[in-house]
């Protein structure tokens, strides 16, 4: 079971899904779309968002504004991939909120897609526990949504489309291989090794624990930045919806503290979304190791190449605390104050 990899720079099935919209509204023809995809990307930010508010509209508007071709979604299989790495009721700011998942599901269903939620928690063998602790189990029930346990699914091998690490390829779950569109739905969080985790790093969760372990240690031993890049370069098609309402700062992605931002960040090019997330956290995306690899290969991270839709990131940026560790200090060097 092998699907063609989404080679950076090529016109992929994902690219075919991102044709219209406001940010891309002036683009006509496949060639122009291809050039736009390689060189520029749109990212949509919605502020003043609440989990008990209307999240459907900003998600819908954001996806359209950043170029998702709604007509191309109809009848397709969409896999929503939240971040449920190690849920606990005591830290709901660690995981993607169920309300965001339900809203995204409603958007894609309204567009005629078949929606599945899928996740392979990185630190918990008991996926059912992850669903219960995160509140996603109840959301799946209330939304009558099917769930794919990516840790235990049947597998297919896909060649490494990035070749930054030594792994020849990845064993992806069937639910991932059979999806027409994957929606990375991370929580906006700091990460104690990488600095930031958002849409690209969230794709560690499509890697099956049954093959790579709990934690997915094969990836760590092959380099976190390299494997984050390679996984994303090997997945067929991925877009991003970031839960930036209640976020995590400090010792993320597990043990950090809550920081409320009230944001949704949406885009059809995850690298550009992640770069914008970094800027919202007042962290330098050019210093995030996997974004250094992704820049201009998986999408732009330079602010001049990202078209901001909805709100501008500048007035919304708020410094996120990160650990005072040498490997992280470069991310906040522009703030001008280093603790050590």
């Amino acid at each position: 079971m092998t699907l063609p990899a989404n080679q950076p720079g090529n016109l992929s099935r994902r690219t075919l899904l991102v044709g219209g919209g406001i940010c891309a509204g002036a683009l006509f023809g496949a060639g122009l779309v291809r050039r736009w995809f390689r060189e520029r990307a749109g990212v949509f930010i919605a502020r003043h968002q609440r989990y008990d508010g209307d999240l459907v509209r900003p998600i819908r508007d954001g996806l359209v504004a950043t170029g998702l071709n709604v007509e191309e979604v109809r009848g397709k299989r969409v896999l929503l991939k939240p971040n449920l790495v190690e849920p606990t009721r005591s830290a709901p700011h660690m995981t993607t909120h169920p309300a965001v998942i339900l809203a995204a599901a409603e958007v894609f269903r309204l567009w005629g897609a078949a929606v599945t939620v899928g996740e392979g928690p990185g630190h918990l063998r008991d996926t059912e526990m992850a669903l219960v602790e995160s509140g996603v189990a109840d959301a799946l029930d209330s939304g009558k949504l099917t769930f794919a346990d990516l840790n235990y699914d049947e597998l297919g091998f896909v060649k490494n489309g990035g070749r930054m690490c030594k792994l020849p390829g990845f064993h992806f779950p069937r639910a991932v291989l059979e999806a027409d569109l994957i929606v990375s739905m991370p929580k906006m969080k700091t990460h104690h090794w990488m600095g930031v985790t958002a849409a690209l790093k969230n794709m560690y969760g499509v890697i099956p624990g049954i093959k790579y372990g709990w934690p997915k240690n094969v990836l760590h031993h092959n380099g976190i930045p390299e494997t984050v890049y390679d996984i994303n370069a090997s997945l067929p098609k991925t877009i991003a919806i970031v839960d930036g309402i209640d976020c995590m700062e400090g010792d993320g992605p597990i043990m950090g503290t809550k920081k409320s931002m009230g944001l949704l960040v949406v885009g059809t090019v995850p690298a550009a979304v992640d770069a914008t997330v970094c800027r919202l956290m007042d962290l330098d995306p050019a210093q995030v190791p996997y974004l250094q690899l992704a820049a201009n290969r998986l999408g732009p991270i330079d602010d001049s190449l990202i078209s901001q839709c909805g709100e501008s990131w500048r007035p919304l940026a708020s410094p996120f605390q990160i650990l005072d560790k040498p490997h992280l200090n470069r991310l906040r060097r522009h703030r001008g104050v280093l603790v050590s």
């Binding site: 918990l124 063998r125 699914d153 049954i210 709990w214 650990l323």
Partner: protein, 314 residues
């Protein structure tokens, strides 16, 4: 327990199972199904499961995760437990050769040691078993292989003794463990139920000083200043009991009850916990894997199939 009878009947009819109803068979759920059936006195019905495990054994002795996935070999310990239970039940040694090759593979397989680091709270030099080749040692594969080697009569083997030290080293100051990290970058991590249950199973019969001391390399101040009352083992058992006050899930609840039972602790609400978990599975994914595990945990004589009655000597 009506649900147990119906689950055992279902497993007897189809003992070769996958993680989900429509999936191809996998070794972990099939080994658990075999153990549940043997515990119920249905060894004959378990035969297809045991043969399936044998068919998944590679020339190196490892049992992979599915026919189509011969690696990694972390389910090998579970296969040893199932084959051993079958041979004991039949008083024949039909699977002796498979067991011997599997044990040889387990003894050869090693997690990767790493240099000691002030950023990591556990002893990264201790070696036990990993999930996948060329990676670090973690709690659950270590616990499964300790159980298998003890049942194979190798409880005093140096690999088992080091693995026991590793399991104790990975217990958290508050009790319990997670996948196998304790303190990272100065922060003590949270425990989880399933790995704690499995660790407690593997530590059954271990009453030596290693279990009484607890990790000494805890680097965060809060953990160091915590009162010394109680042991890490006792704290872990208490953590499991606290966790099961409220309803649990199938996998976590089952391994937790087995882990507690291995230390002589039976919860008054244990049967209801399993019944509730069964209802939840039936209402949701109907996972044969979870049903087999619940059936195993619901039977009192299951423990003898997992834990050597001769303690650490095996």
């Amino acid at each position: 327990m009506d649900w147990l009878a119906s689950t055992l009947a279902s497993l007897a009819a189809q003992p070769v199972i996958g993680y989900a109803p429509a999936q191809s068979p996998a070794t972990e759920p099939t080994a658990l199904a075999a153990l549940a059936l043997i515990a119920a006195g249905k060894a004959r019905q378990a035969a297809p499961a045991l043969d399936f495990l044998a068919s998944c054994q590679g020339s190196d002795g490892a049992v992979g995760i599915r026919h189509s996935e011969p690696s990694p070999g972390w389910p090998t310990g579970l296969a040893v437990l199932a084959w051993r239970a079958a041979d004991d039940a039949s008083s024949r040694n039909a699977y002796a050769a498979h067991r011997r090759r599997a044990v040889d593979w387990i003894l050869e397989a090693k997690g990767t040691a790493m240099p000691r680091s002030p950023e990591m709270g556990h002893d990264t030099q201790l070696v036990a078993w990993s999930w996948a080749d060329k990676t670090h040692s973690w709690i659950e594969p270590t616990a499964l292989n300790v159980l298998a080697l003890k049942r194979a009569g190798l409880g005093t083997h140096a690999r088992v003794r080091e693995a026991i030290r590793l399991l104790v080293d990975r217990l958290l100051p508050v009790g319990g463990c997670n996948y196998g990290n304790t303190v990272v970058l100065g922060q003590t991590l949270r425990p989880h139920v399933q790995p704690t249950g499995l660790a407690m199973l593997a530590l059954a019969g271990e009453v030596g000083p290693a279990c009484r001391a607890g990790p000494d390399q805890v680097s965060d101040r809060a953990a160091r200043s915590r009162p010394a009352a109680g042991t890490y083992l006792e704290r872990s058992l208490a953590y499991l009991q606290r966790s099961l006050i409220r309803p649990s899930t199938a996998m976590s609840g089952a391994w937790a009850l087995l882990g507690l039972r291995a230390h002589g602790i039976e919860l008054a609400n244990g049967a209801e916990l399993l019944a509730a978990a069964h209802r939840r599975v039936q209402a949701h994914d109907r996972s044969p894997h979870k049903l087999a595990l619940l059936a195993l945990a619901a039977q009192n004589n299951s423990l003898a199939l997992l834990v050597s009655d001769r303690g650490r000597a095996g």
